[in-house]
């Protein structure tokens, strides 16, 4: 849908986004992760066109800019406006025909479960309500690209679940979404593509499916401490690690699991469990932001 080619953005001497190459694929939900100051909001503002790249370019893939729905990180709204009139104003900006404005606003309010607050002054809304309102305005008019900057920030678990449900529905409808979040379980749940930023650079890029099948490993647990066989096991392969009563075999070392089991049984240890595991998003994220090597597709 949109391609970023060698995009760099500086704020005086600070490089906020550094030589990013990224394609936002149509119909996917792209999760942008990264620690504070990684350049996520700057990236969103570049895509939204609020900022101009100092270097590189952002181009639509078919030559036509997508229509945008943008939910900024800060929940700021016009003062002294009620929820429904605000959404009606956004609906007018989204080119929704006047005859359909009320209906579409009601739909949007229902989608984020905010019908009860339609006549409420925005200034009187709770943070959770404002977060829902911010999402509701972004959804209006079914824009071809949704940019959601931390859509669940400050929400209670129920609210987070609601927002995730909405994004899952959007994903099922083939909506293109770019979202940032610090809630890794949410990203795992709703995103189909993943980008991890650190210091303005892309440190990890993968589909979510591929990311979650990275680094397969087998954990063998014994009922007793394995320090007596630790040296033997670790000498078998560099990707075998022993910790307390566990042996972890990664990647190619997995093929040696039978041999490891026989060593353990031969040494008189009872094996109480063998588990096949994959890297979690938390592990991938931790390694990426610490600038460890994580293989991607």
């Amino acid at each position: 849908m949109i391609t970023l080619s060698n995009v760099t953005k500086r704020y005086y001497t600070l490089v906020a986004v550094d030589d990013i190459n990224l394609t936002i694929p149509r119909g996917e939900v792209l999760g942008v992760l990264g620690p504070n100051g990684a350049g996520k909001t700057t990236l969103f503002r570049l895509i939204a066109g609020f900022l101009n790249p100092d270097r590189g370019e952002i181009t639509p893939q078919n030559g036509v800019w997508p229509t945008l729905g943008y939910k900024p990180e800060q929940l700021l709204f016009p003062a002294r406006m009620r929820v429904r009139p605000y959404l009606e104003m956004v609906a007018n900006l989204a080119n929704i025909p006047r005859a359909q404005v009320r209906e579409r606003v009601s739909e949007s309010l229902a989608r984020v479960r905010l019908e009860g607050a339609a006549q409420k002054n925005i200034g009187d809304c709770s943070k959770g309500m404002r977060q829902r309102l911010a999402l509701a305005q972004a959804l209006l008019g079914r824009p071809s690209l949704l940019l959601l900057d931390e859509p669940t920030n400050g929400l209670d678990p129920e609210g987070q679940d609601d927002i995730c449900r909405v994004i899952e529905e959007l994903r099922a409808d083939g909506q293109t979404v770019v979202l940032s979040s610090h809630q890794l379980h949410e990203v795992t749940r709703v995103c189909t593509e993943l980008v991890i930023l650190k210091q303005g650079r892309v440190h990890f890029r993968s589909s979510m499916e591929a990311a979650l099948t990275l680094r397969p490993h087998v954990v063998i647990r014994s009922d007793s401490d394995l320090s007596d066989v630790s040296a033997i096991l670790t000498s078998l392969h560099p990707q075998i690690t022993v910790y307390d009563n566990q042996v972890s075999l990664e990647d190619e070392a997995i093929q040696l699991r039978r041999h490891v089991l026989s060593v353990l049984v031969g040494a008189g240890h009872d094996v109480v469990g063998v588990e096949q595991k994959r890297a979690t998003l938390e592990e991938i994220y931790a390694e990426a932001v610490q600038w460890h090597n994580v293989s991607s597709r």
Partner: protein, 276 residues
């Protein structure tokens, strides 16, 4: 596009109307009416009525535009801006909302001033609004350039310095060429007094050349930007427009159009760091 601009215009207009500055503008208009068109005093002349309310319109439009532009530059507007295919729509709405608010204030003062004010024939009443509107539009566009919304880098400094330069040149007695000739002659005298004959001759030559140039193109150039204002003021005082003077409002609109295109270009290409 028209729907989006109209929606934003009404939003910005309401945002100012229901704010403290909006209330203050209305109160200030009432106070100025009491001061400038005191109903207990004699009936003002038509030229006074037209010029004073025109001047009020320009001033209030400038201030109102600054207020509206400040509101349009708030971070709450990010989601609204994201919806626009062109940022110029936002700028147009700022201009529209500012003019709407300011013109309503001007109309309020104009109507209040009619109480025990000059009697206006229909033709005269129809002549006045285009004059006021042309000045208001120019004031609004100039205010846009002074606002954070439009300014990029040193753009407002350059624009207002240029304006100040023209004003300074125009205010000089005998015009800028004559002023420069006098300064060159004075410098020549100073160098002569310090026995720096080479420099003295040089500045003397420059002074003579500038004096001989007389009412040069430079002098005319400095006066040209202000000609529409002078023409309109003269016509209002005399009570009738010559064919040349009748062009003055159109020239002001031309200035405004050029400055608005410049403002649109600056706004469309700047990085937006809306205030939170």
């Amino acid at each position: 596009m028209a729907q989006r601009i109209f929606t934003l215009t009404i939003y910005l207009f309401r945002s100012l109307l229901y704010s403290l500055p909006g209330l203050l503008y209305i109160l200030a208009t009432l106070v100025l009416w009491r001061v400038l068109f005191d109903p207990t005093q004699g009936t003002p002349e038509l030229s006074y009525y037209t010029l004073v309310i025109g001047l009020f319109g320009a001033g209030v439009t400038f201030l109102v535009t600054l207020s509206v532009a400040g509101r349009a530059y708030r971070a709450a507007n990010y989601p609204l801006l994201a919806r626009l295919p062109s940022r110029v729509e936002h700028l147009t709405a700022v201009l529209g909302a500012s003019l709407l608010f300011a013109v309503l204030l001007q109309l309020l003062l104009a109507l209040l001033a009619l109480f025990r004010g000059p009697s206006l024939a229909t033709v005269q009443a129809l002549e006045i609004p285009p004059l006021w509107l042309a000045v208001d539009i120019l004031a609004a566009v100039l205010a846009l350039h002074a606002s954070d919304l439009v300014t990029t880098g040193w753009s407002r400094v350059f624009l207002y310095s240029l304006l100040a330069l023209f004003l300074f040149g125009r205010s000089l007695e005998g015009g800028p060429t004559s002023w420069a000739a006098q300064r060159a002659m004075a410098a020549a005298g100073w160098f002569l007094g310090h026995n720096l004959l080479g420099f003295s001759d040089l500045f003397m030559g420059i002074g003579r050349w500038l004096s001989s140039a007389g009412n040069s193109v430079v002098d005319q150039l400095f006066g040209l930007p202000f000609w529409p204002f002078e023409a309109m003021t003269d016509a209002i005082r005399s009570g009738a427009f010559t064919s040349a003077q009748a062009l003055a409002p159109a020239i002001l609109l031309l200035y405004a159009a050029v400055l608005f295109i410049l403002a649109a270009d600056l706004f469309a290409s700047k990085d937006l760091f809306l205030t939170e």
